[in-house]
Symmetry: C3
Subunit: 267 residues, 3 copies
C-alpha cells in the first residue's frame, strides 16, 4: 500500500507527462473542466460523436464519462467509448451527475457500470446512494445526503464492481472495498461554483492516466484538488474570483505543498 | 400592490431557500447561468433530454426556457417541460433569444407561449417587438431597438397572454398589463459580457420560485441583478474582470443594499 | 500590398462597426469565444439549427466554422451555412480542430473545404499538416508539430484552394500562397487556456468581416490577438487570471498599441 507521501507525489507525473484525458461530459462544465485539466498540466479533449469516440479514446490515457446533460445519442457514444477504453485497458472514471434526481440518470449510470469496468466512480453522497439503489434524495444535481451516509453504499459498490468509489463532500471518502481514505481538504466555496465536482472527476482521470493504482490515483487527485481549493480561497472575494483563483492554484501546485497540507487518513 | 421595499426583500427567501431552477437554455451561457444562480444563492439544474425533463421539472421551483441555441429535439423537450410545469403550477420564464433574427426563433418563441401559461417573458426590445409580431430588427442576438420602443408591444403581450413581460435595456420595463415598473439600475458593461441577459431570465426564475406575484418577482430580480452589476463595475477593469466581479457581487448582495440603491418607478 | 501599419489599423473598423460574426463552433469554447468577440468590439451569434443557419448567415459579416465537438447533424448545418455564405459572398473562416486526431475530423475538415470557398483556414501545425494529407501527429486537439513544419503544407493548401492559411504556434505563419507573414507576438499562457486557438479563428472572422483582403485580415487579427495576450500576461498570476485579463486587454486594445508592439515580417 502506498504511503501518503507516495500518493501526494502522483501530481508530479501528471504535471510532467501531460496525460491526455478524453472527456464525454456535460455542456455546463466543458469549458471549466478543460481549463482545470490544462491548469493542472494535463491535456483535455472533448469528443462525443459516435463516429470518432473509439478512435479518440485510443489516443487517451484516461476516459471520463459524465452524465450531467444527458441525451440518447450521447449515451450511445458513452457506451461505445467505454467499450473502446475497456479493450485498450484505458482507465474509466464515471461521474453519475444527478443520479437519483431522475430515473433516466440513475438507470444510465447503472447501465454504464455494466458496460465496461470502471476504475473510479466519483459522485456526491446522494448520487452514490442512488447508484447503489438506496433511497436517496438528489435535489437537481446537488447532494442532500452527507458523504458520511453514503460510505456504506460506496463500500458495497466498490466490492460489487471491483472498482474505486469516491464520495466527495465536506469530507471526501475513497474506497476500493478494502482500503479506505478520508480526506479533509477542500473549501466550502467549491460548492458555490458549478462544475467543481465534475472537474474533480476529470482530475481523477488525469491521475489515473499516470498511476495504475486507481485507489492511490483517486486519493491523490482529491487531495491535490482540495488543497488547490484551499489556496484559491485565500485570494478569493467570492465564488467568481474563487473559480479563477482555483485555476491559478492548480497551475502553481506542487508535490511539496500537497504533502505539507494533506489531511488524509488511510486505513 | 407590493411596495418597493417589499419587492427588494424578495432577495431574502432566494438566498435562504435556494430555489431549484430548471434551465433548458443555450450552450453559450449554461456555465455562466449556473454560476450566476449559485452566486445568488439559488440552485441550478440543466436538463434537456425528453426522457427526463418532466421528472426534473417536477423537482423544480421554476422552469426557465431559453431559445438561444435552438434545434428541433430541444424544442420538443422545451414543450414537454412547459406542459409538465403547467400541470404542477410551476412558474415558467421564457427568454426568446434572437426572436426577430430568424423565422425559426420567432415562431418557436410564439409556439412556446401557446404551449403553457408563461409567468414572465423576458427579452430585449427587438425580441419583444418580434414576439409581438411587430417589424423589428434583431441583429443576431443583440437588440437594435431601445427598450422604450418595445413598451407598447410589452403591454399588448402582457394583456393578450395574461403574463408579465420584462423588456431589459438601458432602462428595464416590466408590466403585467396593468401595473408597470421602470428600473434604472444596471451598468453598460453588462452588455459587453455574453449571457448577462440570459442570466437575468434565470435570476427572474429564481425569484419566481419564491414569490407568487410574478410582477413583483420580475421587478425584484431585475433590480437586484442590476445593482449587482453596478457594484461589480466598481471593481472591474474591463468586461473580463466585470464578469467575475458580477458573480462576487451577487454572492455579497443583501436586501439593505438593494433597497438603498433601487431606482424603481412603479405605476 | 498593405503595409504593417495598414494591417494594424484594421482593428479600428472592427471596434467601430461591430461586425456580426456567426459562429458554428464547439461546446467547449462557445462562451469564451462570444466573450472574446464582445471584448474586441465585434458582435457574436451562435446558431446551428439546420432550419435557421442560412437565414442567420445572411445577417452576418463573417461565418466561422469550428469542428471541435463534431457530430453528424452539425456537419449538415455547417455545410448549409457555408453554401449560404458562399452565395452571399460572406467570408468563411474554418478551424479544423483536432484534424489528424481522428479520421472523422480530418475528413470533415477536407469536406468543408470542398463545400464552399474558405477565406481563411486557421489551425495549429498538426491540424494544417493533417488537412494537407501529410502524416502528422495530433494529440487530442493539441499540436505536436511546430508551426514551422507546417509552413510547406500551408503554402500548398493556400495555392490549391486559393485561400489564406494561418498556422498558429509559438510563431504564427500566414500565407495566401504568394504573400507570407510571420508573427512573433503572443504569450505561452495562451496555450494554457482552452479555446484561445478557437477564439483566434473567430477574431479572424471579425477582421474578415470588415476587410476584404483576407490575408491582411488574418495577419491583423493574429497580431492584435497576440498583443492582447502579451498585455494580459503582465497582470496574470496563472492561466485563470490570464483568461480574464485577455478579455480586458482586448477591450482596451487600440491601433497605436498594436502598431507599436507588432512583430510582423511580411514577404
Amino acid at each position: 500500500m502506498k504511503t501518503i507521501e507516495e500518493i501526494c507525489a502522483i501530481l508530479e507525473p501528471v504535471k510532467r507527462d501531460h496525460p491526455l484525458v478524453h472527456n464525454i461530459t456535460n455542456y455546463v462544465v466543458m469549458n471549466f473542466t478543460a481549463n482545470v485539466l490544462l491548469a493542472l498540466g494535463a491535456s483535455p479533449v472533448m469528443a462525443h460523436a459516435i463516429e470518432e469516440v473509439e478512435e479518440m479514446v485510443g489516443l487517451a490515457n484516461a476516459l471520463v464519462i459524465n452524465i450531467g446533460t444527458l441525451s440518447r445519442p450521447w449515451i450511445d457514444s458513452m457506451e461505445k467509448a467505454a467499450r473502446g477504453a475497456r479493450d485498450r485497458s484505458i482507465p474509466i472514471v464515471l461521474d453519475p451527475v444527478g443520479a437519483g434526481a431522475t430515473r433516466f440518470r440513475t438507470e444510465t449510470a447503472r447501465r454504464l457500470l455494466g458496460e465496461a469496468p470502471v476504475a473510479v466512480l466519483r459522485g456526491n453522497g446522494s448520487e452514490i446512494l442512488a447508484v447503489a439503489g438506496a433511497k436517496s434524495a438528489t435535489r437537481g444535481v446537488d447532494s442532500v445526503s452527507g458523504s458520511q451516509d453514503a460510505r456504506g453504499a460506496a463500500l458495497d459498490l466498490a466490492k460489487e464492481y471491483g472498482m474505486v468509489v469516491a464520495v466527495t463532500g465536506v469530507e471526501d471518502f475513497v474506497t476500493d472495498g478494502t482500503r479506505t481514505a478520508t480526506i479533509a481538504n477542500g473549501h466550502p466555496l467549491m460548492g458555490r461554483v458549478t462544475g467543481t465536482g465534475c472537474a474533480a472527476s476529470s482530475v481523477t482521470g488525469a491521475f489515473c492516466g499516470v498511476e495504475k493504482d486507481a485507489f492511490a490515483a483517486a486519493v491523490g487527485a482529491l487531495v491535490s484538488y482540495g488543497i488547490a481549493g484551499e489556496l484559491a480561497a485565500v485570494c478569493a472575494s467570492g465564488p467568481g474570483s474563487f473559480q479563477i483563483a482555483l485555476l491559478d492554484a492548480l497551475d502553481a501546485l506542487n508535490t511539496e505543498v500537497v504533502c505539507a497540507r494533506a489531511k488524509v487518513t488511510l486505513s
